[in-house]
């Protein structure tokens, strides 16, 4: 794969699910096409139920597209599932910590699955907990941690395996605004510092604009309704304009059926 090739590429990807009542199919993703380059942080924005998480699960290789072509690092994430061992890190909407594992053991999980040497896995997990401000909580079980701390552990778990791609599905949506803001800043810093490619799903416009180098706005069923690039040079006026445009795009959105 040439270095200029996109890390994630969707071409006319569709995903249909059979309705539980048997009345035909439900289209979650409709001929979705986009590309994400190495080192980009792309925020995917859309209303609840617009198919963002379905797109996310396709990239993660957890579900297969009904049609079209999804490629991640040049490979099919569903059919070549094992190829992506250690290449994708995921931060989910809820922390998804194993309640029977301590914070340290939760961070070590991915490393253990990747058969990393036990001593090295331990050290790496400790380092990541420290970087995320959780020193001293290594032996705490998830129930003893606050929501923000648990989400920090899940971020540490995703980063610990040193993946090429980070997928985040509304990871801070259940946190209070102050905690979410701190974690967002921390997340962006870590992604940039470690030169990762990241897809960040959110339904909050401000969050998408704060995190993304690029913002993709989805309509239902998932297809791109609006796209824009943002960087440090983007002026406040330009940002306000983007915010208004996104609001307008989302307001004409039909409710999912």
């Amino acid at each position: 794969m040439a270095s200029a090739d996109p890390v994630i590429r969707f071409r006319d990807v569709s995903k249909r699910f059979r309705r539980p009542d048997g009345r035909g199919d439900f289209v979650a993703v409709d001929k979705l096409s986009f590309e994400i380059g190495k080192g980009e942080i792309v925020a995917v924005l859309g209303k609840t139920g617009c198919g963002k998480s379905t797109m996310f699960n396709i990239v993660a290789g957890l579900i297969e597209p009904s049609s079209g072509e999804a490629r991640v690092i040049g490979h099919d994430p569903f059919r070549e599932f094992a190829f992506f061992r250690g290449k994708i890190g995921i931060v989910f909407q809820n922390d998804r910590l194993m309640p029977w594992r301590s914070a340290l053991d939760n961070v070590r999980l991915g490393l253990q699955i990747l058969d990393t040497d036990a001593g090295q896995a331990n050290e790496t997990a400790r380092q990541w907990l420290m970087r995320l401000g959780l020193s001293g909580h290594e032996n705490d079980y998830p129930h003893a941690l606050s929501g923000g701390m648990r989400q920090r552990v899940s971020i540490a778990r995703a980063f610990a395996v040193d993946p090429e791609i980070l997928l985040c599905d509304e990871p801070f949506s259940s946190l209070d605004e102050m905690t979410a803001r701190d974690l967002r800043a921390e997340f962006v810093r870590l992604v940039r510092q470690n030169n990762k490619t990241a897809v960040f799903i959110t339904h909050q416009i401000n969050e998408a604009m704060e995190i993304g180098d690029r913002v993709l706005v989805f309509h239902h069923p998932a297809r791109i309704a609006y796209e824009t690039r943002l960087d440090a040079a983007t002026t406040e006026d330009a940002r306000r304009k983007v915010h208004e445009d996104i609001m307008r795009v989302l307001s004409v959105e039909q409710a999912p059926t």
Binding site: A60, L62, F81, A82, F84, R85, G86, I88, I90, F92, N94, R96, M98, P99, W100, R101, L109, G110, Q112, I113, L114, Y141, P142, H143, A144, V161
Partner: protein
């Protein structure tokens, strides 16, 4: 917490003291061959525990209970995992297990006596057949209660089947396994006595049969208490294992 635990122990002890006192009163009213005095029952119980030749019968029964439970646990775990991964297997196996559940323990005893010669194999067969459905269904329930969220999170790291089993499935089903052991222990203790009563030449059930033939109520109570003590000790051991294995669980102060 310590105070409430002490209170619980005291309440439980008080209940047993009231029961013993009630029995002692009955021993004053009725002949001793019907209601022997409590001190006599205690002394006979201790006698069984400290007399090697009698203790062998208790250990024999304990061994049969464990043998049967382990057999049913291993077989039940395999069946639960097979059913959990295949709808066809479920359609095939689940009705058979449900059918087995409806067969009384005494019927299994009769079948075993007709089918098999060896006493130990008979008892093992009866124990396994009577506890297998419960083990299978309880472990299956635990397997099915596995969190879809945790499954997807673990799968995102692309584990091998063995790694998935070790890191996710085993910790998920451990609470169900412990519950299954606690529930089946009581059942097994009851069934083993029936099996020994009818088809064995040793063990607590056999000794109970002898006490019945001798019309010795104190002896019958002493042997019954052996089984009760055994179940209590094993239950407490399982509880201790449960407290250790599930130490990660949050406990509300309100629940203490």
């Amino acid at each position: 917490m310590t105070n409430s635990r002490t209170m619980r122990v005291l309440q439980a002890a008080a209940g047993m003291v009231v029961l013993a006192a009630g029995w002692q009163i009955l021993s004053y009213v009725f002949p001793h061959y019907l209601f022997p005095p409590v001190p006599e029952i205690i002394s006979r119980t201790i006698e069984v525990l400290i007399t090697g030749s009698l203790l062998v019968d208790v250990l024999l029964t304990a061994g049969r209970i464990f043998g049967g439970l382990f057999g049913a646990f291993i077989l039940g775990s395999i069946l639960a995992l097979v059913i959990g991964q295949s709808k066809t297997a479920e359609n095939f196996i689940a009705p058979v297990l449900t059918f087995f559940q409806g067969i009384p323990a005494l019927s299994w005893v009769v079948f075993a006596i007709i089918w098999f010669h060896g006493i130990e194999f008979r008892v093992l067969f009866i124990m396994v057949m009577t506890t297998l459905p419960a083990f299978t269904f309880q472990i299956l329930d635990a397997f099915r209660s596995m969190s879809k969220d945790l499954f997807e999170m673990t799968m995102a790291f692309r584990p091998s089947r063995w790694t998935l089993f070790r890191f996710l499935i085993v910790p998920t089903i451990v609470p169900g396994i412990l519950t299954a052991w606690k529930v089946n222990l009581g059942n097994a203790a009851r069934v083993v006595v029936v099996a020994e009563l009818v088809g064995a030449t040793g063990g607590v059930g056999y000794q109970l049969l002898r006490q019945q033939q001798l019309f010795d109520m104190a002896g019958a109570m002493a042997w019954t208490l052996q089984l009760v003590l055994f179940v209590l000790v094993v239950q407490q051991t399982i509880n201790a294992i449960e407290n250790w294995a599930l130490r990660y669980r949050a406990v509300s102060e309100r629940a203490m």
